[in-house]
């Protein structure tokens, strides 16, 4: 399949091999994936299935061994240089010597000030619910608040594509669920394409338009499931029969793929 330029992300036949001391490890095997503009796709799989590596390749933080990746029609490197990408890491990576506002402003500082089209950091702090914490330092914030600030920072250059690498993985269940609701609200407000990596099937189903299931050793895509749940999704969605049935389907497909592998 040839990647087409009007797709937000197009990955074709991508393979990633890591050279270890005495052998090579196939981290990703023949990955093909397309994400449409303004779609929210969740990559779900067990740890070690290479889902984070795939995200890092799309962000040009790693290079693929073979295969093609296009982000908004450009190579990851060009997309990165055009600053089309926002990345939210598992750790919030707030610089502790800067306050919240300065952390959110960091991308603007790095690119030499606020240009037309960049977001207003104050608006973003309002969007992520951090009004009043502009001058707090990272150690004064809870885990959820830190990740809110990290999301605001990732959005300040108005990226076309937001990549989130297990953004709430370090948070407790309750905070995590609240952050998922927040993320959906933010995503709906900003018209960005989002690719979220998670190891929680229910989180993936709750967030995404489409869930892509990966399997480990070698990392490959074993299933895709379209999530037809209506938006906006709320806490009630979690208890709906449709939600539970999609979670069950994805779970079944993940484990049947794992059985074939083992």
């Amino acid at each position: 399949m040839a990647p087409v330029t009007d797709r937000a992300i197009a990955v074709a036949n991508l393979t990633k091999t890591f050279a270890l001391r005495d052998r090579s490890l196939v981290a990703l095997s023949d990955i093909t994936l397309v994400v449409q503009p303004r779609e929210l796709v969740a990559l779900v799989g067990p740890s070690g299935c290479g889902k984070s590596t795939l995200l890092r390749i799309i962000a040009d933080l790693e290079t693929p061994t073979s295969g093609a990746v296009l982000v908004d029609g450009a190579t990851p490197e060009i997309a990165r240089r055009r600053r089309l990408l926002g990345f939210v890491f598992q750790d919030p990576v707030l610089l502790p010597w800067l306050d919240v506002l300065a952390n959110v402003r960091l991308p603007l500082e790095v690119t030499g000030g606020r240009h037309d089209g960049d977001a207003d950091p104050d608006d973003l702090l309002r969007l992520v619910g951090l009004v009043g914490f502009e001058h707090a330092r990272s150690w004064q914030l809870s885990g959820g608040m830190k990740q809110r600030a990290a999301i605001a920072r990732a959005l300040v250059l108005r990226p076309k594509v937001l990549l989130l690498d297990e953004p709430f993985g370090a948070l407790d269940e309750i905070t995590r669920q609240r952050m998922n609701l927040e993320l959906l609200r933010i995503w709906a407000d900003t018209d960005t394409t989002a690719l979220v990596v998670t190891h929680s099937i229910s989180e993936a189903v709750f967030l995404a338009d489409r869930v892509v299931v990966m399997s480990a050793r070698p990392g490959r895509i074993v299933a895709e499931e379209r999530v037809t749940l209506p938006r906006p999704r709320t806490i009630d969605t979690l208890a709906s029969p449709e939600f539970l049935s999609i979670v069950a389907t994805v779970t079944k497909r993940m484990y049947s793929a794992a059985d074939v592998a083992d």
Binding site: F87, V93, L95, P96, L106, V110, T111, L157
Partner: protein, 251 residues
């Protein structure tokens, strides 16, 4: 320091001086090696001007040594980080140089450069060099991989990434090195002056040779105070500049 601990420290110091005075006066005749504080104070006052002249010289040497030694250490650490191979081949050499006692280096430098400020300054610089190399090498690598990834996603030029991430992340290590280097510079300069003709080191030696015990103590206490002030100055800088470090590293 909190106000309460400042008061406690002051009270302890005063108590120490009082006890010292009383004990030294009681056993003074049989044990003249430790004069009472009042005699040390009197010797200080009596020789205030020569002490000041010698101290000034030592301060100049220590300051130049601190700046030069730390700067060289910083440069070498930067080279280690840019070319890891340089670290593999030079690190052991640096450790070897550091293991040569400064008292052994001082006479060689004195023969080499003659009497003057050069030899003590070099000894001071040597004393500062090693802590800076070790600390700065770690410091320049202290930035987390994810914070560097963040700068890469932003396509930050390497100068930006250095100024905004690597340098701030290294500051706690650089300041820690300076906290060690500042007193070490004073001690280094003093050792370098030992065989010279001026400076605190010389004053220590000459008052020992002339059995001016009170002056010897006065000089020693002044040298110790200056070293302590150097430490405290950088501890103050640390408190202001890297307040975030006390709260755990990057988060």
């Amino acid at each position: 320091m909190r106000r309460r601990s400042v008061i406690e420290t002051a009270v302890a110091l005063v108590a120490l001086v009082v006890v010292w005075e009383v004990v030294a006066r009681l056993v003074g005749a049989r044990f003249p090696v430790v004069p009472p504080p009042s005699e040390i104070a009197a010797a200080t006052a009596r020789s205030a001007y020569p002490i000041w002249l010698n101290l000034r010289l030592t301060l100049i040497e220590a300051s130049i040594g601190l700046v030069a030694g730390s700067a060289l250490g910083l440069l070498l650490a930067a080279a280690f980080v840019v070319w890891p191979r340089a670290e593999a081949s030079l690190y052991n050499l640096v450790v070897t140089i550091h293991s040569i006692p400064l008292v052994a280096v001082a006479p060689i430098l004195l023969i080499w450069f003659g009497v003057g400020i050069t030899a003590p300054t070099i000894v001071a610089a040597l004393a500062c060099f090693f802590p800076m190399v070790v600390s700065a090498t770690r410091g320049f690598r202290a930035a987390s991989q994810s914070s560097l990834d963040l700068m890469r996603v932003l396509d930050a030029p390497s100068a930006q990434s250095f100024l905004r991430v690597r340098l701030p992340a290294s500051l706690p290590f650089l300041i820690a090195a300076l906290k060690i280097a500042a007193p070490a510079a004073v001690l280094g300069a003093t050792v370098g002056e030992w065989l010279g003709t001026a400076g605190i080191g010389y004053l220590l030696f000459s008052s020992m040779a002339n059995f001016q015990v009170a002056l010897l103590w006065a000089t020693m206490l002044i040298a110790a105070s200056v070293a302590a002030i150097g430490y405290l100055a950088f501890a103050g800088v640390e408190h202001v500049l890297v307040d975030w470090h006390a709260h755990g590293s990057e988060a």
